[in-house]
Amino acid sequence: MATETLTIGKALNTGLRRAMERDDKVILMGEDIGKLGGVFRITDGLQKDFGEERVIDTPLAEAGIVGTAIGLALRGYRPVCEIQFDGFVYPAYDQIVCQVAKFRYRSRGNVTLPMVIRIPFGGGIGAVEHHSESPEAYFAHTAGLKVVSCSSPEDAHFMIQQAIASDDPVIFFEPKRRYWEKGPVDTSLGLDAAAPLHSSRVVRPGTDATIVAYGPMVKTSLDAATAAAEDGRSLEVIDLRSLSPLDMGPVYDSVRRTGRLVVVHEAPGNIGLGAEISARVTEECFYSLEAPVLRVTGYNTPYPASRLEEEYLPDLDRVLDAVDRSFGW
């Protein structure tokens, strides 16, 4: 055992380091990831230790980052791309959706693209526009991509290594406003000790209602569960972890016990992940449901100016309000 207390940011850093030690084909690419260590310092020290050949400060062009990563992957490398902020992935959208996602299918399985695209996502950091977005549904909607999001230091450390080890392309969403949250990580453990990458997980057991969340909203949901407990309500919180494929088993099990489900995400609700989860739960658990599945999400507007984000973002009160509505049904 070598349990350390790490922030999510540091746990990603140690995870990247492990992956680079394990496989010298792993290379990192992105804007400002070298000397600066990335604007969030996730790659801090890695260029110093692994050299400029493996930690590459790229020209300022996201389509270029992802497009050349495809070529490097074809050549046997395992590129890990950093997109500086969620709102800057769109110049690479064509490369991701038309190329990354479809290469294997088009080559009838002759090639796989073992690449990872890391994206710090979500709001709550008081940033200017394009720095607080939640674009995960665009990618989860696209066949051929796997999409995950971590919510704790432990998951950050292991999931990034699993994503890099995966032969499929993985879009890896990092909850940027939680980068500084701390938690225990046993960095001596190998990947076999970690939960599978594409599994969801009960992070707080409960009996009265189920909350499903991922990324930054896991903490919000856990805080809501703590507050609800004071009012005598026991909420079960599930961290989805994988957004594509979805691991619905633990969600169905939970809803069959509680009869109530609230899905929470920062992204706008319209045609979002919450809708998919709601549809599946309705199909699988119809007779167990005591109330319709409710969603607590960002509003269906562009992400607003930062002085409005507190109202825009789902918070503890909005989660509890939805729980109340579920019980009031």
């Binding site: 940033a127 200017v128 607003p304 100016a305 930062s306």
Partner: protein
């Protein structure tokens, strides 16, 4: 301001500028050395009166003072972030003053100096940096587009706008319109910027691409974006490129004025590379000590754009101590006013979240607005 003669069509190469005894400078157009000596250039010149020179000096000082004030406001938590133009005053004032009334600018997030010289109230972009809104001004009425944070995107918008100018028949005469797109050295790597070069060339758009090469894109030095001088890229796209000493307000003015006039007269695009230096951090969130050495910053300090114009004014007896004092005092007063207006800027009303999503409205947004208002009302009187 007087106007420099529109330059004849050029092949793309420019002649060497002279430097005032400092280490070899890159080839660029320079009309004023760092020590304040005038330089003759075969193609470019200015014939400013003493009053006009004083006006430029006032611009430079004011723009720097307002910028310093904004940085201080961010440090005190009054702005969420600030992208300082420190060191780039001459590039921005020169380009801004070179524009004619009818010309349209497409800025990045750093063009506070251009904005100021367009006669726009410097408070205008501060709501964006304070987090009150996302700019919110009318880009067309101001002839100054919204600040654009997504690197390079505005160069295509500028190109399209310029294509519209041409379609409207507003080129070919002295009162024709020209468009100027601002971007950084980092932006030159973006597909959008390269596409803008192609489109403007193919459609012969009345546009000037004004690249402030401040040597860095956040932490990445210029060499990460290009192996040839940026201005030389223009040749491959089929229009002239010229490099100018970006810390020399006279040269920037002359070169930009000529390029804009060429555009308005129907001679198509020009790429200007204003060779300058970002003296401060990329933004207030950045820590440049991680990627550059202070000796480099000090070397550029010696090329300060304000000091050299001041030296010229003194040398040519165009201004005295009283004037310089007065300018400082006036700039200070403007900065105080800016501060006061930032501090008294009201927070946005919550319902602004739902405003202006669609021109024709949306049942979904309308329904959410109602739910939101009911939800907020539920807190009144204790929840």
């Amino acid at each position: 301001m007087t106007k420099g003669e529109p330059a004849p069509r050029r092949s793309g190469a420019t002649r060497a500028g002279r430097s005032g005894g400092t280490p070899p400078e890159p080839e660029y157009v320079q009309l004023l050395t760092p020590s304040g000596e005038r330089v003759n250039h075969p193609e470019y010149s200015v014939d400013f009166t003493a009053e006009e020179l004083r006006g430029l000096y006032r611009d430079l000082v004011t723009v720097r003072k307002l910028d310093t004030e904004a940085t201080a406001l961010q440090r005190q938590g009054e702005l969420g972030i600030w992208a300082s133009l420190l060191g780039q005053e001459a590039a921005q004032v020169g380009a801004g003053r070179a524009m004619r009334t009818q010309d349209m600018a497409f800025p990045t997030y750093r063009e506070h100096g251009v904005l100021y010289t367009r006669g726009i109230d410097p408070i205008m972009p501060l709501s964006l940096f304070r987090g009150v809104d996302q700019g919110g001004w009318d880009p067309v009425a101001n002839k100054f587009n919204l600040y654009t944070i997504v690197i390079g995107a505005q160069t295509l918008h500028a190109t399209g706008y310029a294509m519209g100018v041409a379609k409207d028949g507003k080129v070919g005469t002295d009162d024709g319109e020209a468009v100027i797109a601002f971007f950084g050295d980092g932006a030159t790597s973006q597909g959008d910027v390269n596409e803008a070069f192609i489109w403007s060339s193919v459609f012969h758009a009345p546009i000037v691409f004004f690249c402030q090469n401040n040597q860095y894109a956040i932490s990445e030095p210029l060499e990460r974006q290009t192996r040839i001088p940026i201005y030389q890229r223009a040749a491959g796209f089929g229009f002239p490129g010229v490099r100018v000493d970006g810390n020399d307000v006279l040269a920037v003015y002359a070169v930009t004025r000529a390029a804009l006039d060429n555009a308005r007269l129907g001679q198509g695009p020009t790429l200007i590379e204003a060779y300058t230096y970002r003296m401060g951090a990329h933004t207030t969130s950045d820590d440049p000590t991680r990627y550059r050495v202070s000796s480099e910053v000090e070397a550029w300090q010696a090329k300060d754009p304000i000091a050299r114009l001041k030296a010229l004014l003194v040398k040519e007896k165009a201004a005295g101590e009283d004037f310089f004092k007065q300018v400082d005092e006036d700039a200070r007063i403007e900065a105080v006013s800016l501060r006061e207006r930032v501090l008294s800027m009201p927070d946005p009303d919550h319902s602004q979240i739902f405003d202006h999503v669609y021109a024709e409205g949306s049942p979904l947004v309308d329904a959410e607005r109602k739910q939101f208002e009911a939800y907020m009302a539920s807190f009144e009187g204790g929840h």
